[in-house]
Assembly symmetry: C2
Homo-oligomer: 667 residues x 2
């Protein structure tokens, strides 16, 4: 247990929940890395599409980035007002559920889930890929590095979102600081050198223009560049991680992410043109990324270059953290609505949703292993989920404002403004989504279109299981106490000792109909059984004292376990008894040695445990299984097991209530 | 379940035990392969020591093999009479236990166990090694081949010794037949060609003599050659595998093994000299084993060569089977005496001792992985265990005859003859043991001398645990029925439904002191709890009907699970109650949904299961845990669960006994 405390931190109480929530300082590294890392691959992806334009590519980039930055501004405004309208949770799932119905909300949930899993795999693979291209000696270790990093991020998030935010603050702020500085220096030099700065390290010359700029090429560049926006939705989905007032901290975090991302995108587009940087073919030797060329051009290949590129690598690799913050919280809401297993909704040791975190880690790990840590092929799938949820979330908000308008026509002006922003945003992201799907359909976007409906089907199937279960379990009638009578108790035992003695005493204390069941030949055919001796001992040590105490003596039954399994003859006996006494419950009492030490699990057979499991599985609802533990040593409550003060108070009341009663029966 | 039936065969009943035992036909392949395979490496090991003698080596071989064959004859006579004296089990462990006391028997058991594990690892590695040197393309797959073969042998033995004997009969008899034929042809040609036959494929010329034959060299050759005798003890240790009369089938199997082994050893020694075959250095390229040279010399490199060498490979690789027959049976006897965990003594699905088989497979697998499938270094450890048990077994028999002499002086002559055979045998094997230990001490024999005492210590520790356990559990007094009163029953529940309804009805049927415990905040801090609604429902649906039925209404207690773990507040409540009512038992009733399908394990939280485990572990002997199952569907007894006819008969009696009683109480 000490090891868990050390690795994951001590178990937290429910009442510590508020102290474990985050503010904007931790919010940026916890949720913002996905968005900030987008600045590294968004402009690069757009430039890569523009390679056929040759040296003209970088001058077209601003025309591609401008609508993206405009879209970003709209998204920002839209999420800003969504956060205010849904202060507890403004994620696409909730907004769609409230405004567009269950089916649309499941579409949003499925798209988000797929997107989050892909984001983890792609983010980690991209970070490790960049690291490996910087240090080629690490090339044989791509997969172990990916899995190690995944394990680290999983572990840190199991410690809690606060820990993750604090732990990843350093690289996040270092990245933001150094790149804003570099862009500042670059811009300063452009101004000082009259728009044509001399790069300190000249970027490689771009090829000849192979074609001229057409609308389709620019649209494809726009579709690729849109990956720069993924991650902006993170704050809205993870709003429950913020401390009160959560809207304030959510707004601050969202503002910080969008301002920094916007500055980076504008700066990069501006500097790329001025310094003549273009994308290089990744599959060619000597490949260098756009940002790497740009940093070298502005500040040279010195220490600052390595600090900036190092922090970029960290941010790329840690962009997976955004998913680890949002995915478990999304799954929790979906689970609370019955579309995912209940365990996704249970707060774990550190008040985060462990099952979701572990599930995300495992799924991303499987993807990484399946693709051997090289997830380039997953990238085309990537932006679809994000833009689908952008669109659904804003479409939901349009409905939200429409309703609000109908409800309070007095505030019409302000509400109409909100409505317009969201409607415009929804339209723009929908157009972008269509462009992305068309542009990337063949590259792999079709996979998302196949997977998302499957996920929705799974969610609905889970929900229908729970609906059936709860329909069966529902019990609207008052407790029916007619015909209550003590059960027939079967006491199973292997040999006559304190365990069976203890069990028999308990059996006689709850019912007068006690049958002791001794099982022979459990170990196999050759073991000799001392049945005669047992029957004599039974007469002397059980029947005689029972008769003396005025009780009906329990009967001894010896069953032959032909197949070395206890449950078969016992179930047969139970069926017999049930046939004769159709209304009476049957309870099987199983004495069990409590195993406190690891070696006891090796030294004892696990018959009691197996019998219990089999009887529970096969016995039906009329059978009750009673475990009577027997300990070698007497137990002591360790410090960890000591409950809280609040439990004390209620326990006091409970024991008070029992004290008033009188014992029901006895000899 | 179907998959188990297919792979392991159907579950066998105790009464089928006798039909599953083996005769001599299956006995030879099941137990004899270790002994027969010895003929492949014994003479080779002796010749390898004689390499410094150059061409003279092969003429010295008969002088080394003669005492080995003589020793084999003594061992045969000795085991023959041991089998008759101990018809149920004449293994070294039993003989030593009966005659030389517990400590010596543990020495024998430990030596045998170590020997059996080594035999599996070495046998499989040797077989695969020979295969790989024949087919070099398989070289990269040594370890997978070893583990695959180990898995196959383990699986076949889990199906039962009879299956193993039948399955491995073909290679065993093919090996014996082809090698006896080759030795016959070789001897015929020696006679026809006047003692100097021309080899069809000439063996490579032997080197110059580097030294002359000294006593120490011959002694070392003897010690190495003694590995030819390992496996002779197999029949005595596995006698319980034979069908009745087991002595007859044991004798037949022993005779077959020893006669064939003796013929092979004599024939090889004779032919090696006549055809001028010598050992080659294994580490040199172009190495060929002695038997391979010999076969080629006698019958050439044709089809027959490949059949003979192929069957030899099979026998080498399958020699591990002997351990799989004997080790689980030895462990079973040791476990019955309390020196090993009880589970080693339980017959499994196919009436063999599964735990021993699986343990042997796992341990040998670990050795194979640790040594990467190349276990040459383990070979020096190998003969010590065998010769130690030879000596102990015969020393035990000497004591046995001494006692018999004292008991019946009339049969003195016959008994003295038995005594002499065993005494001579014991002396010879003891001398051989000393020679082996001295000759191989540095090569690794010291490891056995370290490991065996550790195993003995472990066995004694296990026994002392059981002794303490049974001393604690022993209960010589009659059942004490004073002060029996119904327990205080705590009914735990999460929400009010049929589960809790069912549980509460059961609780009220066994005791009047019922406290219902509702746990809140189990999922975490944010989940809203509908406590007020619950309390109202409790009054209407539980308290009212209970009062109407004349029962004391159960109280509702709400505990706050600050740490999302149910057991802490419940244990605290129990401690409180125990403090107030020191003599009363407390029973915790846990309603549980029965999970019949795999997906239910995913869809349900496992709170009930975890609570049960924690309460059993920490609650102490005064706490009883009651599981009330609740099934979605009603259970049906599958054909597999239908018990035997014998269980029927006793069940009939049990239900008869209950019928005579009257219900104890009811509303």
């Amino acid at each position: 247990m000490g090891i868990f405390d050390f690795v994951l931190g001590r178990r937290l109480a429910n009442r510590e929940s508020e102290q474990r929530k985050i503010g904007a300082f931790e919010g940026l590294p916890a949720m913002g890395l996905d968005g900030l890392a987008s600045s590294a691959y968004g402009p690069e992806a757009a430039l890569a599409i523009l390679i056929p334009l040759g040296a003209a590519a970088s001058s077209y980039l601003p025309w591609v980035m401008a609508p993206i930055v405009a879209l970003l501004a709209f998204l920002f405004a839209s999420y800003w007002q969504t956060l205010r309208a849904y202060p507890t949770n403004g994620g696409a799932y909730v907004v769609a559920k409230e405004n567009l119905g269950t089916n649309v909300s499941l579409l949003a949930a499925a798209a988000l889930m797929v997107d989050y899993v892909l984001n983890v795999a792609v983010g980690i693979a991209a970070g490790v890929g960049a690291l490996v291209s910087a240090v080629p000696a690490l090339h044989p270790y791509i997969l172990p590095l990916c899995l190690g990093l995944l394990a680290l991020i999983t572990l840190v998030n199991l410690r809690g979102t606060l820990d993750a935010g604090r732990m990843f603050a350093m690289p996040a702020y270092l990245f933001v600081g150094s790149f804003l500085l570099i862009l500042g220096i670059g811009a300063y030099r452009i101004i000082m050198e009259n728009g044509t700065p001399a790069p300190i390290v000249a970027p490689p010359a771009m090829g000849e223009a192979a074609e001229s700029a057409g609308l389709w090429l620019l649209l494809r560049a726009f579709a690729s560049g849109c990956t720069a926006m993924t991650g902006v939705e993170a704050v809205s989905n993870g709003v429950s991680a913020f401390r009160q007032p959560s809207v304030k901290y959510g707004h601050r975090t969202l503002l910080a992410i969008v301002v920094m991302l916007g500055a980076l995108l504008i700066g990069i587009a501006y500097l790329v043109r001025a310094y003549g940087v273009g994308a290089m073919d990744q599959s060619q030797a000597g490949y260098r990324s756009v940002l790497s060329q740009l940093v070298a051009a502005v500040v040279g290949n010195g220490t600052f270059y390595y600090v900036a590129i190092g922090s970029l690598l960290c941010v790329l690799a840690l962009s997976a953290n955004t998913s680890f913050v949002d995915f478990p919280r999304l799954c929790r809401m979906v689970a609370q609505d019955g579309f995912l297993p209940e365990s996704f909704g249970i707060a774990g040791r550190r008040l985060v949703f462990d099952v979701g975190i572990l599930y995300l880690g495992a799924t991303a790990g499987i993807l990484l292993v399946a693709f051997a840590g090289i997830t380039d092929r997953l990238i085309p799938l990537f932006a679809i989920g994000a833009f689908l949820t952008f669109t659904l979330s804003q479409a939901g908000m349009v409905r939200h404002w429409q309703r609000a308008l109908r409800a309070s026509p007095t505030r019409a002006a302000g509400l109409r403004m909100h409505l317009c922003i969201n409607a415009l945003g929804a339209t723009m992201t929908a157009i972008a989504l269509v462009v992305i799907v068309i542009a990337k359909f063949v590259e792999g976007a079709w996979i998302t279109i196949v997977v998302v409906p499957c996920v929705i089907l799974l969610l609905k199937t889970i929900r229908s299981y729970y609906e059936e279960l709860y329909a069966h379990m529902r019990d609207p009638t008052p407790l029916d106490l007619r015909g209550i009578e003590a059960p027939i108790v079967l006491v199973t035992f292997e040999s006559w000792n304190k365990l069976s003695d203890n069990a028999l005493r308990f059996a006689l204390s709850i019912s007068e109909d006690v049958v002791a069941v001794h099982l022979s030949q459990l170990s196999g055919p050759d073991r000799d059984e001392q049945q005669r001796w047992l029957r004599k001992q039974w007469r002397d040590d059980v029947e005689a004292p029972a008769i003396a105490a005025g009780l009906l003596p329990p009967r001894l039954v010896v069953l032959n376990a032909q197949y070395r399994a206890m449950h078969q003859p016992i179930l047969k006996l139970i069926r017999e008894l049930q046939g004769k006494f159709s209304r009476r419950r049957i309870a099987v009492l199983i004495p069990e040695v409590v195993k406190r030490r690891w070696y006891q699990h090796v030294l004892h057979t696990h018959r009691a445990e197996r019998l219990r499991r089999k009887l529970m599985l096969l016995g039906g609802s009329d059978l009750t299984v009673i475990n009577v533990p027997w300990c070698l040593e007497s137990p002591t409550l360790s410090a960890r097991e000591r409950p809280s003060a609040r439990a004390d108070a209620t326990a006091e009341r409970a024991s008070g209530s029992s004290q008033r009663r009188t014992p029901a029966r006895g000899p």
